[in-house]
Structure formats: C-alpha cells, structure tokens
C-alpha cells in the first residue's frame, strides 16, 4: 500500500466530507489515521467544522454573536 504523508491525508479527510471516497482512498486514509495522532486530531477538527454549519442552523439556544460589529 502506498504510504500517505500528512499533507495528502488532510486532502482525503477534506474530500471525505464532500463526496464518498473510493475504496483505495478509504483504506489509505484509515491506515494513515491509525498511525498518526496529529492527523487523527485534524480529522476530528474537520468533522467539527463540518458539523458547525448544521449546529448554527439547528441550535435552539441563542448564539453569542456580536451583531453590532461590522462584517469586516
């Protein structure tokens, strides 16, 4: 199996959130994540960022945005 470096691994972690990965891609990513703690964290972070968009929409409690501020 081709060894994946962290940079390419993050590419697959990202793509996985947009489109189903191929079997080969899935396997290489899984293998890399099993061995690399930093990438495992990165994968969790990407997932959290992905979930954040949905939380923003569905969270029932008020979110603490400073809406008085300018957008830039």
């Amino acid at each position: 199996m081709k060894m994946l470096m962290c940079r390419e691994a993050t590419c697959l972690m990202s793509k996985r959130l947009d489109v189903p990965l191929g079997i080969q891609e899935k396997m290489t990513l899984k293998f890399h994540l099993a061995m690399c703690g930093a990438c495992k964290q990165c994968n969790k972070q990407f997932q959290l960022i992905h979930d954040a968009g949905r939380v923003l929409e569905h969270q029932t409690t008020a979110l603490p945005f400073d809406l008085g501020g300018d957008s830039r």
């Binding site: 962290c6 390419e8 990438c39 969790k44 990407f46 400073d66 809406l67 957008s71 830039r72």
Partner: protein, 202 residues
Amino acid sequence: MSASPDSAHDAESLDARQRRLAAVRPRLLAFARMQLRDASEADDVVQEALITAVEKDAHFAGKSGYETWVFGILKNKILDALRAQKRRGRWQPWEDDGVEAAVENQFQATGRWQELARPSSWGDPESTLASERFWQVFDSCMIALPENIARIFTMRELMGLSTRQICEEAGIKENNCWVILHRGRLLLRACLEKGWLTEADS
C-alpha cells in the same frame, strides 16, 4: 410585522410563530453575514426572508421544524443574492493572495506536519460546539478567510450545497472545488486552534 392569516389558520399558533421568528433572527443574521460577508446585504436578505416567512405562513406544513423552514427560505434568498453578486462582477477572479503559503506553512517539505502546526485536541466536540467562546472565535475566523475561499466554503458548509451544485454556481471544476475546500478547512482549523485553545488555556 403584520400578517393576514387566512381564517383556517390558527391565530394563536401564528402569534407563537412570530415570536419564534423574532427569536431566530440573530441566528439568521449571523448565518447570512458569514455567507455574504456584507453586513447591509445580510440585513436585507434576512428582512426579505422574515417577510416571506410571514406572508407564506399558511404554507408552513409542519413537516420540518419551523426554524428549519425559515432557514430554507433564507438560503434561497442568499442564493439569489450570491447570483446577483456574481452578475455584478463582485466575484473576483481566483487569486492566490498568499493562501498557498499559509496552507503549505502547516507542513514540512516532507509532507509531515510542522511542529508548531500539529493539530491538538479541542476537547469534547459537543461541549466545544456549546461554548459561547468557540462561536466567537469561529465567527472571526470565518471573516478572516480569503473571500474566494470563504464563498465556496460557506456554500458547502453553511448552505449545504453539494460540490456539484457549487461548481455550477461558481463556474469552476469539481476538482478545483475540492482543492478550495481543503485549503479553507486547513486555514480555518489553524485559525480556530489558535483562538480556541489560547482562550481555553487562559
């Protein structure tokens, strides 16, 4: 806001829904502002969405949650606004703006993480997402994303469009879309980690 409920419609629940509209407004604004990156445009689309929600109250079928339904209306308004932005030439051609460097800085030449950029744990995802401070950091990191990346990124992660739909809207190839989303996520995670963990420690 005045509404004209048809006689079949329960006036009391209409009133309750209008209170829920007022309650959801700050979230609609935050959402629109991240997506459109323009405070007054965001105000406008939210206003339009609220008016539509009141006017079309009779169409609310109760299949989804009321807030979800209102967000659906807002997303359509935002998409219209994005298309108008594009027609007016507000979408600048793709430029690098040092983005490549900011992304590549996180890695060594070998493709491993740079020591300083190594992702660490953000703690329990649920409590992270429930934290006020996290959302403040999230908001400022979203605003800090380069515009070209932010537009594609928010279409995917906020609006929930598929990469294929995004390609159509933005006129780019799907491959290109994945590259942009990858960069956006790497930039955002670096920014969030910096802001979130710094605050959490202090």
